[in-house]
Symmetry: C2
Subunit: 154 residues, 2 copies
DNA sequence: CCCGAAATATAGCCTTGGCTTTATTCTGGT
DNA sequence: ACCAGAATAAAGCCAAGGCTATATTTCGGG
């Protein structure tokens, strides 16, 4: 009833599944990426709000993200803990040096993902929406591949 | 200090940000996708294990996903609650009709995402790894675009 | 046939990221 | 100059998804 006892077919051929540790690594990587996704969304949004409004208020962040203000505040506190942002009570949120660097990287990645999706035929609005979830899982290697692909056909 | 008081530039042009409700929707969609991602990973893996081993044991699921067995068991219980799987104590896990349908959809989507990544120049192993996180955020519209793109270019 | 090892299950804990409710602080308009 | 209403913060709840530690059940080899 186990693989071992049911015949030779699946012994080391393993025609379907990657090796166990490899697969576990992939899932683990995806989990880690997910953990940082929220931070990335926040820093990107804070940078955008500063660029446009000259300030980033918790209530605006909350509205843009579609969450309650307390939720936004809690996440902002996490940003502070992680050294990505600073905020004094009733004074708005500011990115640290590190936060700004991250924001710029996230923004560039987002644009590249959107452009790639459009290049393969995804409508602009759908590309924007899907990119919001996809971007956090695109590795640097893939990102560079996207860049090359766009250059050789744009 | 507010957008209202700082000049005309950003009033309704809003050159950078999408409208607030639109953006909130996007983030909300990404959050929902994330919530179902784990279920999708489990049903896909359970289907694979059945196809290869003839059974899906919690311990194998746990090892493949790189989590502890109790964690896997808890998630399996959630699958049961959601009507995607059944399991009797000490007897392995089985997908329901609905679970099998989902598994097939997830598997097809995974393959398509990997193929697209490879088509734009991402190395096979990186494509596999990135797809693990990306796939859960690719909408049907994008998926169809991927299909068309792959068809028209061999 | 039975007993120890492996698999499974249960219980309890932690963090994250949602939420609502309540209290506090700012601030603009009269 | 004040005060109502908006923005902010604080506190406490919940579910999800990790974990470890502790039973319990199965099952294969001697």
């Amino acid at each position: 009833m186990k693989a071992d006892t049911m015949g030779a077919v699946t012994r080391q051929a393993d025609p379907e599944l990657p090796s166990e540790p490899t697969q576990a690594e992939r899932f683990g990587k995806a989990r880690v990426a997910q953990a940082t996704a929220l931070l990335e969304d926040y820093v990107e949004l804070i940078a955008d709000l500063h660029a446009i409004n000259g300030e980033a208020r918790p209530i605006d962040i909350a509205r843009r993200l579609g969450v309650s203000h307390p939720t936004a505040v809690k996440s902002i506190n996490r940003l502070k803990r992680e050294g990505l942002a600073t905020a004094k009570p009733y004074r708005g949120v500011f990115l640290t040096e590190e936060g700004q660097v991250l924001a710029e990287r996230v923004r560039a990645r987002h644009r590249l993902v959107v452009r790639l999706l459009e290049a393969v035929g995804v409508p602009a609005d759908v590309a924007e929406a899907d990119a919001e979830g996809i971007e956090h899982h695109v590795s640097d290697v893939s990102l560079r591949a996207f860049g090359r692909f766009l250059k050789t056909r744009g």
